[in-house]
């Protein structure tokens, strides 16, 4: 589905990601864990095509096509999606305007409107948040739910959730987790977390541990519990 080969990423002069190799398979759920500053968000933003992160070496392939030089909008059109760790507020633009433009020629605006309403009710997002400027005046949990809602309407193939479980209360997290489970089918998920809170609700097929920009360990879901007990350092040294 998505593969990373010898990936090395720099911001300015600083190397953040080094020598990452991994192949994400279709229909599976992956958890990416690691301490703060280990490069998890950088990896997510690099896959999505943030202009600040330069690929120094290696390649990213989506279904066999190299996407290193594609802009973020083209990557999204190929089926990539990133749920941001801290979604930014966009004044004067509501979620419908955004999705209508993103899906122009693909989905009928009326259909988009219906889906937004449907998913907002499933995710328990208050109506005024749907009509208001995106993420403006929304709580941490509400912002994360709005990210999930966008994912649901956009129907991407490869979804990265960057700390979807932080700043979210237990109820909201359950709702988000249930929602992700329900919409698994043919999709591939990469859940970035450093608590593993969300992993109590969604059992990952594989857990990847990242430290200092490298993937140092890969295991099954039990690895997440070991980390909770022992911490990263003991486990990985």
């Amino acid at each position: 589905m998505l593969s990373l080969t010898n990936l090395k990423v720099k911001v300015g002069e600083k190397v953040i990601i080094n020598n990452v190799n991994f192949n994400f398979e279709k229909g599976k759920v992956y958890a990416l864990m690691g301490p703060n500053g280990s490069g998890k968000s950088t990896l997510a933003l690099t896959i999505m095509g943030h202009p600040q992160y330069q690929i120094e070496n290696g390649k990213i392939e989506m279904e066999g096509v190299e996407i290193n030089n594609l802009s973020a909008d083209k990557r999204a059109q190929l089926g990539l999606f990133l749920s941001f760790q801290t979604p930014i507020a966009v004044s004067g633009v509501n979620v419908f305007q955004l999705l209508r433009l993103a899906l122009s020629g693909k989905k009928d605006p009326l259909e988009i409107k219906k889906e937004i309403e449907k998913y907002a009710s499933v995710l328990k997002i208050p109506n005024e948040l749907i009509n208001r400027s995106l993420n403006e005046g929304a709580s941490g949990g509400e912002k994360k739910k709005l990210e999930v809602l966008q994912a649901a309407v956009l129907e991407p193939k490869f979804l990265i959730f960057d700390e979807v479980d932080t700043g979210v209360d237990v109820d909201a997290m359950k709702v988000i987790a249930q929602f992700i489970k329900k919409h698994k089918k043919d999709k591939t998920y990469l859940l970035i977390t450093h608590y593993n809170r969300i992993l109590r609700y969604i059992k990952p097929d594989k857990v990847l541990i990242m430290i200092d920009g490298e993937i140092v360990k890969v295991g099954d879901y039990k690895l997440a519990y070991q980390i909770e007990k022992k911490g990263y350092e003991k486990l990985c040294i």
Binding site: M48, P51, D73, F81, I88, L101
Partner: protein
Amino acid sequence: MKNYVYKSEKGLSEKVINNISSLKGEPLWMREFRLKSYAIFKRKPLPDWGTDLSKVNFDDIYYYIKPTERQVSTWNDLPKEIKETYDKIGIPEAERKFLAGVSAQYESEVVYESIKKELQSQGVIFCDMDTALRKYESIFKQYFSTVVPAHDNKFAALNSAVWSGGSFVYVPKGVKVNLPLQAYFRINAEQFGQFERTLIIAEEDSFVHYVEGCTAPIYSTSSLHAAVVEIIVKKNARVRYTTVQNWSKNVYNLVTKRARVEEEAVMEWVDGNLGSSVTMKYPSCYLVGRKARGEVLSIAFAGQGQHQDAGAKMIHLAPETSSRIISKSISKDGGRTSYRGLVQVAPGAKNCSVYVSCDALIIDEESRSDTYPVMKIKEQDVNIQHEATVEKLGEEKLFYLTSRGIKKSEAEGLLVNGFIDPIAKEIPLEYAIELNRLINLEMSGSVG
């Protein structure tokens, strides 16, 4: 398009002015007013502040062009060429939809006009200025040039000397006009300055919304647009004046807009400035009666080679008056926007409140935005708030939107439209859509 019935010689002289007045068959007082204004125009220097007007060549402009012989009252009577021009702007369709009346200006003469019967039965007068001067001379003379005298500024003097066309609106006491009155303007002859003049009188307890939208084709030589708008808002009346203008990129757009606002009356200017090479426009409210209220909502967009110098003037001359100025400007590709505002509170105008907010959005490093707010407050009991922000189009916001599959240029358009959204909401829907579309075109670089 050379079917002009009459075209004055280039440049300005007493002879040209006398000719205009004779052709229009005006009363002597108007001819004298024009000649006196011309003398003021010659005396007044160009403003030495604001924008660069040194390239305006007053001798290289036709001051009067009369396109057709007579006024026509139905669409079918219009000459074919004019009809085609209007078809491109879409007037008849717009009219079918919900216009209360159309007074469309083709060059300097109003050639097409239709007033809905309902308006007539209410006693509302909506016609072109020349007709108003002929048919309603006493009302016309009572108010004409009382809010914008010829000596207001050099371009007001020029307009006073050579004005032609524009709308006259009279709303009787207690009458509320439910649908917006609209006029379409279009400069269509090369090097032809358009000097329309609009006069609106809203009697006590009345309401009217007047909308002007402008589009102009692109020419290689400079064109001058120096209009005057005068509005009298009587006690407890409300007038809203909406402009969405998109002059071609070589037009000097120098417009004087003033309103006199009496006791408990409300004046609202909604002003969208796109296009033109240079715009200087500062809609004003003279708040002369107790509890009078004035509002200016202004949007300016400056692209390559453009300077939008726009703002507002609020003159508080009575107690408990209030004013609100909200300005949003966008500059791109080396364009320049300036907010220029004056708020004045006279001695004795107690318990006034003033709110000024100006936000500038700068799209790239080459572009520029300046703010020149002036406050002259001669009274202690005043509540004043002033807010100003300057922001750059954020890379993070752009990344967020593009990561959803939206092209960068479209994402920029979305952000710019989001930025002006609080003002766009105040504009009638069809104009808001047009504004939205124009901004998207500007952002994607497909209009030059």
